[in-house]
Subunit: 290 residues, 2 copies
């Protein structure tokens, strides 16, 4: 609601309001859909709505509700985008969503403090590309609510956000308030800043790896080039190369064992997760399958 | 206790056991000192002990107990090092200390997931240099206890670690167990790994900045060199330069305002915290005082 009102206030005119009912909240979901319908009508904007049964989808594909929901939303946005001949999708994730995501990714073992990207390109199954923008990512939920309330504008709450049943809800309802209390400050704001710094670090690493020319034209890693670099850069180059080749579950320990292959008297072969191998041949490191 | 026993088991012979009683725990502190004395005697190692009143020191210097304690320890280690003509200090910080520190630094607003350094050089007030090593930084507290208990070796507990009064103790006793429960895994291990990755990112940035040759021989920033770099690298260069010049309280917003000075039609002067200025002159950026 806040995003739509801000976009309209900001002069955006060619908007399509898209609402997907996930079929998870029964009558409340239908109420949301009617509310969105009235909002679109108030601004004279075209409306696209659809109802899916995310719980059933998740059972069929054996995904989590969250993953199945995300996939259903992207498919729906892609349909709307094709129908209205536009590719840009604006989403209303805010700073508190970002803080939760950063903490959530940290607890799932991601390297660093990765958050939601402010701009993201997504390839959808039908071959189209969506450009996702999240303009509210540095604005707190409370600021948005205060702004809406100050104008007397209504919004809808998703009651399931208040139930400390999923891990993400527990982060929001239990962990973040406790961390705020211990720190004596708003941890969400620190996490949002940390995600920006983490994204910068990733871009600096991209630049450094390009600068170091660690790959040959076939994309294989140059052993002699790598050998001359600091250990941290060697790990970054190996991590990037293995990720690009679809090798998952890469630990720091594995990277250090791969680094041992850079020495001419080091091992020439290393077992990778997923039945793959890293081999040293003709002064190059290459991933081999099977 | 575990560190000393591991060092002895690992063949270290020229060790000096150093124990500083912080004067914070009365009789328990004196009991610790006697325990350490017996341990040193058991291995036939020289012992250095001292008692300070950290609470009084902290009142005098208006520092926190933690900061005053750290300063007193470093001064004591420097005294011992001078007396025994050695500079290497081994400290027993373990993976749980590291995890707490990473979370603690994050909550204090440090950029990224900075932990305790495994190796650190410290200049002590008398001009000497200490080389601090923390060989247990990737080993969990529980592993050390299990190892000691399996050999029937005693250790001492610091009862104040169990009181949820300081922010750090609350992190250990309240926040980390809650995060473990939500994540369904040992968050300490993730935080230790994240600190290693963060340290790598810092080294990659060091390399990238050296490679980009952003500074002239006088250490001033080259405007034209910076202008050609990606925004993330510009921010890294500016952050490093300002930190080296003693400018504190540098936010991302400030860095972005400094970046605007790279354009020839951008501002030529920027107010910095602490009454300093950043000025663009002769295609260089320089910090000016007053």
């Amino acid at each position: 609601v806040a995003l739509l009102r801000l976009l309209v206030a900001g002069g955006f005119r060619k908007l399509v309001v898209c609402h997907l009912d996930h079929g998870l909240r029964g009558r409340a979901g239908a109420g949301d859909a009617r509310f969105v319908g009235r909002l679109a009508a108030e601004f004279g904007l075209p409306l696209e709505t659809k109802r899916v049964r995310v719980a059933e989808l998740a059972r069929t594909t054996r995904e989590s509700i969250e993953t199945a929901g995300r996939r259903a939303r992207h498919a729906f946005f892609a349909e709307c985008a094709a129908k209205h001949r536009c590719r840009r999708v604006m989403l209303a994730h805010h700073a508190d969503d970002q803080a939760e995501t950063v903490l959530w990714n940290l607890l799932r073992g991601s390297h660093g403090l990765q958050g939601i990207k402010p701009v993201q390109r997504i390839i959808v199954p039908d071959g189209g590309e969506l450009e996702i923008h999240r303009p509210l990512l540095e604005i707190r939920r409370a600021e948005l609510r205060t702004w809406l309330a100050a104008h007397g504008w209504e919004w809808r709450e998703d009651g399931t956000n208040r139930e400390p049943v999923t891990a993400r809800n527990r982060l929001r309802l239990e962990a973040l308030p406790l961390l705020n209390d211990i720190a004596g400050r708003e941890v969400a704001e620190l996490l949002v800043r940390a995600a920006l710094a983490d994204d910068d670090a990733r871009q600096v690493a991209d630049w450094a790896l390009a600068q170091a020319r660690v790959s040959d034209p076939q994309g294989r890693l140059h052993v002699r080039v790598l050998r001359a670099l600091p250990a941290a850069l060697q790990r970054a180059a190996l991590a990037r190369y293995l990720a690009d080749r679809g090798v998952g579950g890469v630990t720091r320990d594995l990277l250090d064992r791969a680094r041992a292959m850079l020495e001419s008297d080091g091992p020439a072969k290393l077992n990778l997760p997923g039945g793959m191998w890293l081999r040293r041949r003709e002064a190059r490191l290459v991933v081999w399958h099977g």
